[in-house]
Subunit: 138 residues, 2 copies
DNA sequence: ACAATAAATGCACTTCCATTGCATTGGTTA
DNA sequence: TAACCAATGCAATGGAAGTGCATTTATTGT
């Protein structure tokens, strides 16, 4: 079990207080978060720093971006089973129309999609919308 | 073969010069277009009019919205086989990373997606990214 | 045909998110 | 300790989406 510091270093990300905090914040969350979510959680920090931190995490492939159709980009830590680098191996995302949260269904792989002749599929983005387990369980 | 005027009227859309032009523009295009695309095509018209025309078309279900992950909403005419009202019967969209165009693969239905227990799927958005037929055929 | 009414259009403005330039701070290394 | 580079903070910009209101255009009833 690596420490977060060691993990970040192994990904060539310089360890700073801010980055540790943001990483922990993402790790605690079970859902994908927006920049504003992070902003609200760290009111003392500057928007830009949070923005660039997330971008750094994205480049170093420890965070992936999710476009769930709400128009606002969301982010989530890549977890075991999330091979974002391997574009053909993307999992799907679920967006709850009730609580408005978006979660990664890491274990649910996207089925092979057939495209017409001449088309080359490099990457698939699949967002299922509906009611999540918490909201439907009421 | 109905005229466009008759078609619009049958959908309870009042026929105006602007709407006819925009409809024709969409019909000519084989790809999904952004608001800016329309704006560029009709520089004399006001942005708001174009915006609201598209929204009207959307409400009356002759146009559907596509979120292809570029962050910019695109629109396309609903064609034969496009039953946008029936949410479970959505076709998929293909976004070309080369020419940056998004096209509707109307005949390609989205496969049934399994979601975990407790989750209720209401709607599925699937965008495949890659290289389109025109670009790969070089 | 004309007045009354309703819808469509145009203009101005606002909001929200994403992004960038530049100055400053802070940590690393020679 | 000086020099350097990365990280942070501040300010500002840009683009797209959306809204309020005045004006024009079309429709309806008399």
């Amino acid at each position: 079990m690596k420490t977060i510091e060691e993990f970040l270093e192994s990904k060539n990300i310089r360890v700073t207080a801010m980055r540790l905090l943001i990483y922990k914040f993402l790790a605690e969350k079970q859902v994908a978060v927006t920049l504003s979510d992070i902003e609200n959680a760290f009111e003392k920090a500057d928007r830009t720093t949070l923005y660039r931190t997330i971008k750094t995490f994205e480049e170093k492939e420890i965070v992936h971006q999710i476009d769930d159709g709400t128009g606002i980009t969301k982010y989530a830590l890549c977890e075991k089973g999330c091979n974002c680098e391997i574009e053909t191996d993307l999992h799907l995302h679920f967006h709850c129309n009730n609580c408005n949260e978006t979660i990664c269904l890491t274990e649910h792989k996207i089925p092979q999609i057939k495209v017409p002749d001449g088309f080359v599929s490099e990457n698939v983005n699949l967002v299922v919308k509906g009611i999540c387990d918490k909201c439907s369980g009421q």
